[in-house]
């Protein structure tokens, strides 16, 4: 039923790693050491960690764009060094420094993130169809936000996953915002799960700040999909601690978010909540927790050093055109 002690430790470790990587990415973007954009995931790391820490290698993952999917991908087991190198535009990046934050790790069955909100529903439906046809017990993890639920692609994708009974777990990471627009201004219902329920997809709403609650719900959904139960929809209510992307102001509608809002939000920091839980339930001691934080810091430092020391690729014209769909 519920998570084992070992699973809780895995989740806690991945949560701390995701938190450290997120903070490092924010800092390096501010220093001008990353290329492209950065959409911080601070405050919203529990859904990705909870959803992806126990996926199988051959399960397919379309991560959320927030945090550029690092929470999801490191939990699924990708090597973070080529991830950071990619975002720095280095030749050792997972896409040889050409994709910035539109990563792919095909060897881990990680595809996306796309630049178009809601676009993931299209390939996800195809992968879901393939997984069903392959009958190897693969599951597709589809991560997106409340903003995506305003797109036609999302509604079509949900519809097709339902009528075709596809093994897809739809994970809606609802932080209440689409850039500046509040979800309550953009949707007639605050629970996106009710939309999926209307399409006959089993749907739940969970606390997206609680990594353990996310993992238990997702594990149940994955088990269901793997055993032929079809799609499920999990809405993880989460928070966005920072601006939509670095360089933009952090607005609620047209107004800056007040300090009191930040103060209240930080009481529900997912790392804080998880730390309280593992200490209270005697899952970890403070000294082990400290070691987990130190290890995460060392992992981040090593990844940064790897990216810094990696060369920038200087491809020939022929090499540049080798990886595009429509070569001249």
């Amino acid at each position: 039923m519920s998570l084992t002690k070992e699973q809780m430790i895995t989740l806690y470790t991945n949560l701390v790693r995701a938190d450290r990587f997120g903070k490092m990415m924010y800092s390096r973007m501010m220093q001008g050491k990353l290329i492209g954009f950065y959409h911080p995931a601070d405050g919203a790391i529990a859904p990705g960690v909870g959803a992806c820490s126990f996926l199988n290698d051959d399960d397919i993952l379309f991560p959320h764009h927030r945090g550029h999917g690092i929470t999801h991908m490191l939990s699924k087991g990708i090597d973070v060094q080529p991830y950071i190198a990619e975002h720095a535009g280095k030749a050792t990046g997972c896409c040889r420094g050409r994709a910035a934050w539109h990563y792919a790790f095909p060897e881990h069955n990680v595809y996306g993130t796309t630049a178009y909100i809601g676009h993931n529903f299209v390939p996800v439906t195809g992968f879901g169809w393939a997984a069903k046809r392959n009958a190897k017990g693969q599951v597709v993890m589809n991560c997106f936000g409340d903003g995506a639920m305003g797109t036609g692609r999302a509604h079509e994708g949900l519809l097709m996953s339902s009528i075709w009974d596809l093994p897809i777990v739809h994970l809606c990471e609802n932080n209440g915002f689409a850039i500046f627009a509040e979800a309550e201004e953009m949707h007639p219902t605050e629970d996106m799960a009710t939309v999926a329920q209307g399409l006959d997809i089993p749907s739940v709403v969970i606390d997206g700040q609680d990594v353990f609650a996310v993992a238990e719900a997702v594990n149940a959904a994955v088990d269901s999909a793997r055993s032929g139960g079809g799609p499920t929809f999990i809405e993880a209510k989460t928070l966005r601690f920072k601006e939509h992307d670095i360089g933009n102001r952090d607005l609620r509608g047209w107004k800056p978010r007040p300090q009191e809002e930040y103060d209240e939000m930080h009481k529900r920091d997912p790392v804080l909540l998880a730390t309280e839980r593992v200490l209270e339930d005697k899952i970890l001691t403070q000294s082990v927790i400290d070691k987990i934080h130190q290890d995460a810091e060392a992992e981040v430092d090593a990844a940064v050093q790897f990216a810094d020391e990696s060369p920038i690729e200087s491809p020939t014209e022929e090499e540049l055109l080798a990886d595009v769909y429509a070569p001249r």
Partner: protein
């Protein structure tokens, strides 16, 4: 006239039992519609003031928007709270504030868990628990309009509060001699390392259960007692059921659509003056179906039945008494006079 309070749990009816069982998602839109219908009924009966708990989903504000220009006597307000956490503590805080406002009663919309939280702060203020949850043994499944009429009957004095209300029992949990929490329907000791998704849905994890009511028409963990043949408990008793290998196999609906076969090794009736020590160590205690508190190695957990539970309005009884007193008739002729 005393005001009426309304608590609507925005999180009720949405948990993991939609995945692992066949529970229905109870949308906040439907909760809003129920509140609207209840307030329209209160307005028709002359209720002057209704206060609604605020929540991060702004259900109260949406109720007020829907009721705009439809009310003649009732003023509907959003309860003012110093802060909002988006957790169960909002309910505790709101019930306390409604008690301070001297509310005649508080309508509590949710499942057993929501009623439990409201009962922590209600003291002698009557609750009207209404089912919008998953397992609903404590709340009553009644159309919102009738809920509003029953609440109005008590608030306007058409029915004496004492005539329609009764105090419910509660289970009290103490750990190492210190009072920790309550349950209204069931308290379960489960083999789990964490609270995680909270709901209890794995029958193999359930080791002990304590029940305030036993009925074959219950759903949830209390059904385990309800489906034991020939078992009944009196008002001053709880049922203590122990589960394990090699016992009597009993099938019971522990969640909507989830019929589980459980092995009951023993059961006993326990009177309210007695305390039962939990035999399982290093386990999780689930209160009204939700994992809440860990019993750690070396800790002693004790359970007792208490008659100090919340005061509850019986909706059917309140309506029956209000009808009998001619509350819904204009110029009632003497020939219709009732006792």
């Amino acid at each position: 006239m005393r005001p009426i309070g309304i608590i609507a749990n925005p999180a009720s009816g949405k948990d993991i039992r939609r995945l692992v069982a066949s529970g229905t998602v109870f949308s906040n839109q439907e909760k809003i519609n129920i509140i609207v219908r209840a307030i329209l009924a209160m307005d028709a009966m002359g209720v002057e003031r209704v206060v609604i708990m605020p929540d991060p989903s702004h259900m109260a504000e949406r109720v007020i928007k829907k009721l705009r220009s439809r009310l003649s006597t009732t003023c509907v307000e959003v309860l003012e709270l110093p802060y909002l956490l988006g957790t169960w503590q909002d309910t505790v805080q709101s019930v306390g504030a409604m008690r301070d406002l001297d509310c005649a009663s508080v309508v509590v919309m949710g499942g057993d868990g929501t009623s439990r939280v409201a009962a922590k702060a209600s003291d002698d203020m009557p609750l009207i628990p209404v089912s919008t949850g998953t397992n609903n043994v404590f709340p009553q499944l009644v159309e919102g309009t009738l809920v509003g009429l029953a609440a109005a009957a008590v608030a306007t004095g058409a029915v004496a509060s004492g005539a329609a209300c009764a105090r419910a029992p509660r289970l009290e949990l103490s750990i190492d001699g210190e009072f920790r929490d309550i349950a209204l329907v069931d308290l379960a000791v489960v083999d789990a390392a964490n609270t995680a998704a909270r709901a209890v849905w794995d029958p193999l994890a359930i080791k002990e259960i304590f029940l305030t009511c036993v009925s074959a028409s219950n759903i949830g963990l209390s059904a385990i007692g309800g489906f034991l043949p020939g078992v009944e408990i009196g008002e001053d008793e709880m049922l203590h059921v122990t589960l394990g290998d090699g016992g009597l196999e009993v099938m019971a609906p522990i969640a909507p659509g989830l019929l589980s076969r459980l092995s009951v090794t023993s059961y006993e009736k326990v009177r309210s003056c007695e305390v039962v020590r939990v035999s399982n160590r290093s386990a999780m205690v689930a209160l009204d179906g939700e994992r809440e508190i860990a019993i750690l190695d070396g800790q002693d957990a004790d359970i007792r039945l208490s008659r100090r539970g919340p005061v509850v309005v019986n909706i059917h009884k309140a309506l029956r008494l209000a009808v009998a007193s001619g509350n819904y008739c204009r110029d009632l002729p003497q020939s219709f006079a009732v006792a």
